[in-house]
Structures are given as C-alpha cells and as structure tokens.
C-alpha cells in the first residue's frame, strides 16, 4: 500500500509538467501584448513603439519562448508567480489569501456534501420505495434544479434580512459560512446522494449480503460492508468535486462578497492581468491532479483488487 502511494505520486509529476506547459502556452496565445497591458494599467498617456519595446525587454518577453517558460516554472516552484501587471504587487500576496479563503469555503462545503450524501444515500437505499425515500428524492430534485444565485438571494432575504439570523455577506465569523456552504452543497448533494443510493442498491442484491444475513450478522455490520463496496465510485466523484467547487465559486463569492479566488480571477480576466490568471489556472490544475491521485489512493485502500494490479 505504501509503495502504491509513492508510485501514484511519482506518476503525477510528469502530468503536472504537461499542465504547467499548456497553461503557459494558452496565456501566450492571447492576442493582447502583455507589454501594452502593463503600460495601459500604469496609465501612461502615450504608448509609443519605443515604450512597448522597452517594457518587453524589462518583462523578459524578448527571450526565446522555452526560456521564458523555464524561468516562469522555476519561479513558480518557489511560489513566485511574478508581479501583477495592474497593481504591481506580487501575485502570491494577492492570490495566496484569496486561495485560502476559497479553500476554506470549499473544504467546509465538501465535508457537508460528503457527509450528507452518504447519510441520505444510505438511508434512502435501505428504505427503497418508501415514503421517506420518495420524498427525499423529490426534494433533492427540486433543490438541484434551482439556480444557485437565485437560491442565494432568497436565503439572504429570508435568513439575513427578514429573520436577521445570519450575516448577509463577508467572512467575519463562523456564521458567515452557513449560507454560502448551504447554497453550494445543495446542488451537489442532490446529485451525489443518488449515486451513493444506486450503488448501495446494486450491492444489496449481492450474495455476500444474503450470506451475511443468513449467518445472523447485525444489519449495522452488513451495512458497513455494503457501504465500503459501494463507496468506490462515490470516492472518485467526491474527490473530483473539491477542485470543481474550488474553480466554480465565482457566482457564490460575488453574491456573498466572499474575498476568494473566484472574484479575484474574474477581476484579473477583465483587466487582462496575465500573471494572476496564469497562477490561478495552474493552482486549479494542480488541485485536480492532486485530488485525482488522492481518490486513486483511497480507492486502492477500499478495493484490494486495484492494489494488486499495480
């Protein structure tokens, strides 16, 4: 098992190189000349050819493409993503705190999603076809169909304005987490708990469940066996949902004025602040690779056959 983990982690390294290279290329394909962007941001009154050439030299844009890439990559490895074209501050000082804020929101939401999906999925599967099962499925269908910005606005109006129970925006206290986490989780839970439910139902018909019951094992023990076997698909989905949420909090962050990655990235895209966009894309891509590897490792722990094949 330890060996499997090390191998998986080593295998993800080449993938990270490919991703960083693609990130770099994509940004360089953009039609805007970075030198021009910098000059505009500094509000230089007249942008001459000469000025552009000078700036290109200063930014190192005249070096061969591969050199630019290796310089950037080496700097990135030391968490130095360059300086913002617009404000001149270091990218890390802008993106670091924002990343942390979004990460907090993502992790709390993911925990809520995972716990509730499993609890609801297991309970619905064990009560298949009953009123409980049907009403939970109906409710989830409704909630998943609601657009998150609408749900967010309604919840702010009801819980923050009308009842005055929770803060409308910002992240001052733990209470600030409640509304955004709820809005993010609702959509995902509605989809994921169905996954847990249906794989539980598949497992319920397996012979080992019958044999467990025929041997007089308690339902609790049998449910644990079933859960372990049915979670394998769900683990992959759960792990991939973390980077997905990380990259898709834009709407929620804007509605709740959450000082996170989503808002920063939209702002940077509008002002064509390339170093920030590059760092943003890179961080998300690394998160995808990382969580994919984590899900492989968890699945190997759950399923002995996966370990063997390696």
């Amino acid at each position: 098992m330890g060996l499997y983990m090390v191998k998986k982690l080593i295998l993800s390294i080449p993938l990270l190189f490919v991703i960083s290279f693609l990130t770099f290329i994509l940004i360089n394909l953009s039609p805007m000349d970075p030198a021009e962007v910098v000059l505009r941001a500094q509000e230089v009154p007249q942008i001459t050819e000469e000025l552009i050439a000078q700036t290109r030299e200063a930014l190192g844009l005249n070096k061969p493409f591969l050199n630019q890439y290796t310089d950037w990559l080496l700097a990135c490895l030391q968490l130095d993503f360059g300086d913002s074209y617009v404000t001149g501050e270091s990218v890390w000082s802008l993106i670091g705190p924002a990343f942390l804020n979004t990460l907090k929101l993502t992790l709390v939401s993911s925990a809520a999603i995972i716990v509730l999906s499993i609890v609801l999925g297991v309970n619905c599967a064990l009560r298949e076809g009953t009123l409980v099962d049907q009403s939970i499925r109906g409710m989830s269908f409704l909630l998943t169909a609601l657009p998150s910005y609408w749900l967010a606005s309604i919840m702010i109006w009801y819980f923050s304005v009308k009842l005055d129970l929770l803060p409308t925006s910002g992240m001052e206290s733990y209470a600030s987490y409640i509304l955004p986490v709820t809005v993010i989780s609702v959509g995902y839970i509605g989809i994921y708990f169905r996954n847990v439910r249906s794989s539980m139902l598949n497992q319920l018909n397996e012979d080992y469940v019958l044999y467990g019951r025929a041997s007089g094992l308690s339902e609790k023990k049998i449910t644990l066996h079933i859960l372990r076997n049915s979670l394998q698909v769900a683990v992959s989905i759960f792990c991939m949902s973390i980077p997905i949420i990380l990259g898709s909090t834009v709407v929620i962050e804007n509605v709740f004025a959450w000082p996170g990655l989503g808002r920063l990235s939209v702002k940077s895209i509008l002002s064509r602040d390339f170093p920030i966009i590059q760092a943003y894309v890179l961080i998300l891509a690394v998160a995808f690779v990382l969580f994919n590897t984590v899900s492989d490792i968890i699945n190997a722990a759950l399923n002995p056959k996966l370990r063997k094949e390696f």
């Binding site: 298949e128 076809g129 018909n205 397996e206 012979d207 080992y208 019958l210 044999y211 467990g212 019951r213 025929a214 041997s215 007089g216 094992l217 308690s218 023990k221 066996h225 372990r228 076997n229 759950l302 399923n303 002995p304 056959k305």
Partner: protein, 271 residues
C-alpha cells in the same frame, strides 16, 4: 421427530401479485437430508430464503414454519436473527460472491462467530483452524487473510462448510452448493457436506438440479415445478418409481448429465 415443518407456504410478489410458491408443505426429519430438485425458476431458492425469512424486498410470504416446535414466522426480527447461522445455517451456490470482495474472508468468520458466541480472537482462530483442517483446507491462517478473489470457488465453498462446522447449526440449507464447481471440486464439496452431517448430526436441506449428487446425499426428495411440489418421497422411490411424468423426465435426462460425477464417486468407493 420433525426438525422443521413447513405448512402452506405461499410466496408472492407484492407489486405484480405474481405467485412464486403456491402452497408448499413438507417436513424435514431430524438428522435427515431432504433434497429439493427442479429446474431453474421452479422456486427452490425462494423456498430456502423463505425458511430463513430472507426474501428480497417486495416479496411476501405466508404460512407456518415450525422449527423444533417454535413458529419461526411469528418471531421478532431480532429473535429470528439469532436463529440464523446458529440454528439454521446456509451454504450458498457461488463461493466467489458469498464473501465481501473488499474484506479478507476471515472477517466474515470472525464477525459471525463473535456475534453468536462472543469468542475472543484467539478462540475464533483456534476453532476455525481446526474446522478448516477437517475440510482439508491447508494453511488455515494464511487462507483467512486472503481476499475472495485470491481463492478458488471450491475452497470458498469448503470454508463455508468449515464455518458451519464451528457453528454446528441444527439445520443446514445448502442452496446449489455444487452447481458453480467443476466435477473434481463438486466431489470434494459433497464429501465435506456428508462429513459435516456426520460430525454435527444436523439435518440438511439440499437444493440442486444435479440428480447425481442428490442420489448420493439425500434421504428424501421433493420435486418442484412452477412453484409447486409435484412429487415427494424417499430418494429410492422417486428415482425408481416416479409417479409424475415431469419427475420421470428429469430422472431420465439428468442421469446422463450426472454420469461423470457418478463415475468419480464409484471410483472413490473402490479405492
């Protein structure tokens, strides 16, 4: 004395109102082996599940199931669970699928024995080792730490028998225990099942469509077709002077198919 008596067992699907078993009544005498034979879908396995009250959700049953004078159909779920494994054990058809694929096989044995006897780890290991050696499984401790996919179907079947040896229930329900096996493993498993009966003195309900095996192991036979018992009697009588045309048809066709098995059994007897 009757170990188990089934009266007017009816099993049906709640949704489609499809009747799976119409009205079955039979007895299993103490220390005897009763075989249920019949084609796939005739209701053999459903009968077994009904006896343990382990029908799939949506399947209903009525009728009386009397085990040693106790009405199993009236017991609470908790009381019924205590009978399963300890008083009425089951051996399934496909050993590969009878154990949780993500746990080593020892986990099931440990959990079962702890549930019924509350033994310590070392006690369980000691009893399992002894029983596994009885059914000719070598290196018991190693085997218990293997995953089902690392073992063969015959080995898993014998492991189920070993567990039954330790539990020593009053009745063993063997649901097509030899169907998924090749001829050699079939032979070994039948030998072990017969050994299990001898050493625990249990009654056995043996479900099969392999008449060769049935002839070897059973004292009495029930023939089922379309959810109804069409014939019953001692093995000798059913095989030699069957009344129902369906039984005569089964006996004549299956005899040819079971020839291999019979040959092996005879060779063994000669040795």
């Amino acid at each position: 004395m009757n170990m188990l008596e089934v009266r007017h067992l009816k099993v049906w699907d709640q949704k489609s109102h499809n009747v799976i078993i119409h009205n079955s009544s039979f007895q299993l005498k103490a220390g005897q082996c009763l075989a249920i034979v019949g084609e796939s879908g005739s209701g053999k396995s459903v009968t077994c599940r009904s006896l343990m009250r382990l029908n799939k959700p949506g399947i209903q049953q009525s009728g009386e199931i009397v085990f040693k004078g106790e009405y199993l159909n009236q017991l609470s779920d908790k009381e019924m669970r205590k009978r399963r494994g300890r008083n009425i054990g089951m051996i399934l058809q496909n050993g590969m699928r009878a154990f949780d694929p993500s746990s080593v096989v020892g986990v099931h044995c440990k959990e079962t024995l702890r549930e019924h006897f509350g033994w310590s780890k070392s006690e369980i290991e000691e009893k399992m080792t002894k029983a596994m050696e009885r059914v000719l499984l070598k290196h018991p401790m190693e085997l218990l730490n293997k995953y089902p996919y690392q073992l063969s179907g015959g080995m898993l079947q014998r492991l189920m028998i070993a567990l039954a040896l330790v539990l020593s229930p009053d009745i063993i329900i063997a649901d097509e225990p030899t169907t998924a096996l090749d001829t050699i493993s079939q032979f070994e498993v039948v030998e072990q099942l017969m050994g299990l009966r001898e050493s625990t003195g249990c009654s056995m309900l043996f479900v099969s469509h392999d008449l060769g095996v049935v002839q070897k192991i059973a004292d009495e036979v029930l023939v089922m077709r379309h959810g109804e018992i069409v014939e019953s009697g001692t093995t000798q009588a059913v095989f030699s002077e069957a009344q129902h045309p369906y039984t005569r048809y089964l006996v004549s066709t299956r005899r040819e198919l079971g020839a291999n098995f019979n040959m092996m059994m005879q060779e063994d007897n000669m040795c």
